[in-house]
């Protein structure tokens, strides 16, 4: 690693191989993070059985509910 650095020269862009790998890895991890699905759907938590009301209904999510309202 301490030896002479490897560089790619593309037009006015001069980039070290190490930096290019970091940037490529950033993009790959980002794409994976937004596209990967979680392993498996988990069961609904008990609190979802409570009835919903108010502004949440505007999402059309009729089965999903929230915790007890503190207001």
């Amino acid at each position: 690693m301490a030896g002479p650095a490897q560089y790619l020269h593309l037009g006015f862009i001069l980039i070290s191989l190490a930096n290019l790998m970091v940037i490529a890895l950033l993009i790959v991890v980002f794409v994976l993070a937004v596209t990967l699905r979680r392993p498996a759907k988990q069961r609904l938590s008990p609190i979802e059985a409570a009835p919903e009301s108010g502004e949440a209904a505007n999402d059309g999510n009729r089965s999903a509910t929230g915790k007890g309202d503190r207001s």
């Binding site: 690693m1 301490a2 030896g3 002479p4 650095a5 490897q6 560089y7 006015f12 862009i13 001069l14 980039i15 070290s16 191989l17 190490a18 930096n19 790998m21 970091v22 940037i23 890895l25 950033l26 991890v29 980002f30 994976l32 993070a33 937004v34 596209t35 990967l36 699905r37 979680r38 759907k41 988990q42 069961r43 609904l44 938590s45 609190i47 979802e48 919903e52 009301s53 108010g54 502004e55 949440a56 209904a57 505007n58 999402d59 059309g60 999510n61 009729r62 089965s63 999903a64 509910t65 929230g66 915790k67 007890g68 309202d69 503190r70 207001s71």
Partner: protein
């Protein structure tokens, strides 16, 4: 009014422990796109821990001791991990438009944290006490001098940079991160975009603040409930599927994961640590270059002699933005009389025990300015044809006055290492300001080596590291401007880049407040990927006949 009661009630209302450390979060949070914040936090914790060890043992330890160098490598890879995850955190939060529903200040604090992180890392690179630190200092000084900051924030003053790096900036960073975390936990993570933009706007008005827009939103919702408190997560998440979540457990796992990763990287790849250049090495390896640099200082034709503020009243490197020169406005705060500091003063000290040198020095200093200039011109010109014989610089015969004797003795001071010590003197007992030796080396020695290592500004050098190590990739945009006109052709290039980056950074910080532009994530559509299961569920619910049971999952 009882302030204690008021603060206690406000804390109780805004920061209930069940929201600060919840054991349930909305189901949509279970996406890898939500992990980068905690990875960034874990990297910061490990950065601080490894930094404390480095600070406790000092530079000699991390350069010479194998264990010290390993801890230095841990710190290096922690910094890489920190910025890697911080960049991904920034990207994913942007795609989620995480500033919605009253979270604009959360974004602002996060963006300022990003900038503070860059400042902390920058002073860290300056504190390495190796060649990389030397080069970053002399290259970065021009950028900071161009906007007047260099007059007060001297990159070549190791003591000042070390203080900033190990205390002031980390403290600021920890405060900002703590505030950011608190903001996130008080309001919770932002909900996915509503299906219809009109619904999204209603929710935005309801949760963003008080006033007529909020009242209108409540009327739209036909809500009889009181105005929502920003911290009312139960109401904010109403209608969303909640799932058990172990925030602390996730933090511990992230910390262990990052620790394992950086230990492996540090053990396998080590870290860059090119030894620093000294004036002694320069004088020994390139005697003609050393004497040429010294002559540039004596005759006032060198770059530093003509530089301008903050070192002198020259104009050679003075930059301005239109009619305004912040560099000149800041003034000469680090005065350096180049001829005296680099040549006359060291020689006068050596002359105390050397009559021949004392006579040569007297001949030169008692000559008229016109005579001195004639000797300097002739000798500088002759250096083009100079040779080195037995450690002495030999020039063709000519009328140089006493300059050959003076320069021969100065070269002796250089090759012996005495000049390194003399230039470090600052009047006090402890010496940690490398401004004078680094400015001397910045004339020729440092740029020559930096060019070989592709570290010049024109070589995207600000984001490069010595060897095959990854550098400061997060500085790519700052570095980019130096490659294109008018920045790379203007004599005010540094100042122009600073202005450009200041504007872009300000836009990043206040992005949530920019009308229409702050809707960009919605149109980019990446949020549909991140929250696709949420949207899938919402769609399924809409298709389901009223009164039927939701499918078991």
């Amino acid at each position: 009014m009882n302030l204690t009661t008021m603060i206690r009630e406000r804390v109780r209302t805004w920061m209930p422990l069940e929201d600060l450390l919840p054991d349930q979060l909305p189901a949509f949070v279970r996406s890898p796109a939500y992990f980068f914040g905690v990875i960034t936090l874990s990297s910061l914790v490990l950065l601080i821990l490894s930094g404390i060890v480095l600070a406790a043992f000092g530079p000699q330890w991390w350069h010479a001791n194998p264990v010290g160098h390993f801890v230095n490598s841990l710190h290096f890879w922690c910094a890489e991990a920190f910025f890697f995850s911080l960049t991904l955190h920034l990207w994913t939060e942007f795609c989620k438009a995480a500033w919605r529903h009253g979270r604009r200040l959360t974004w602002v604090v996060g963006a300022i944290t990003f900038v503070a992180g860059i400042g902390t890392a920058f002073t860290g690179y300056l504190s390495q006490t190796n060649f990389d630190a030397q080069w970053i200092a002399v290259q970065g000084k021009d950028a900071l001098n161009a906007i007047g900051i260099g007059a007060f924030f001297n990159l070549m003053n190791f003591g000042q940079m070390f203080g900033f790096h190990i205390f002031l900036l980390p403290t600021l960073l920890v405060i900002l991160v703590g505030l950011h975390l608190l903001q996130v936990r008080i309001r919770g993570v932002v909900r996915p975009y509503a299906h219809a933009w009109r619904e999204e706007l209603t929710r935005e008005r309801l949760w963003r603040g008080a006033g007529r827009k909020q009242a209108a939103a409540r009327a739209t919702l036909k809500s009889n409930e009181p105005r929502p408190l920003p911290s009312d997560q139960a109401r904010y998440y109403r209608g969303l599927r909640m799932k058990p979540y172990d925030l602390v457990g996730e933090g511990v796992m992230a910390l262990l994961g990052v620790l394992v990763l950086i230990v492996v990287l540090a053990g396998a790849l080590s870290s860059p640590d090119d030894p620093p250049l000294t004036i002694q090495q320069y004088a020994q390896q390139n005697p003609v270059g050393f004497v040429t640099t010294a002559m540039g200082g004596l005759s006032g034709t060198g770059t530093i002699a003509q530089y301008g503020p903050p070192y002198n009243h020259g104009t050679g490197s003075v930059q301005s933005i239109g009619p305004i020169s912040l560099q000149e406005a800041a003034g000469v705060t680090i005065p350096i009389d180049v001829a005296r500091v680099y040549v006359l003063e060291p020689l006068s000290i050596a002359a105390r025990t050397d009559p021949q040198l004392a006579a040569a020095l007297q001949t030169f200093t008692h000559a008229s300015a016109q005579q001195q200039a004639a000797w300097e011109d002739a000798y500088t010109g002759a250096l083009d044809k100079a040779t080195v014989s037995s450690g002495h610089v030999v020039v063709p015969p000519g009328n140089y006055g006493s300059l050959p004797t003076m320069m021969d003795h100065l070269l002796l001071l250089g090759t012996s290492g005495a000049l390194d010590g003399l230039l470090l003197r600052s009047g006090g007992f402890y010496q940690n300001d490398f401004t004078k030796p680094l400015l001397f080396l910045s004339e020729d020695a440092l740029p020559t080596k930096a060019q070989q290592l592709n570290l010049l500004g024109s070589q995207w050098g600000m984001m490069n590291e010595t060897g095959n190590y990854p550098g400061q990739a997060w500085l790519w945009l700052y570095t980019f401007w130096y490659q294109i006109p008018p920045y790379n052709t203007s004599s005010n290039g540094d100042a122009l880049v600073w202005v450009t980056m200041a504007v872009l950074t300000a836009l990043l910080v206040v992005y949530p407040y920019l009308p229409y532009l702050n809707r960009l994530p919605y149109y980019l559509g990446v949020h549909r990927l991140i929250w696709r299961e949420y949207y899938h569920d919402v769609h399924a619910e809409r298709q389901r006949p009223v009164g039927s049971s939701p499918p078991a999952t």
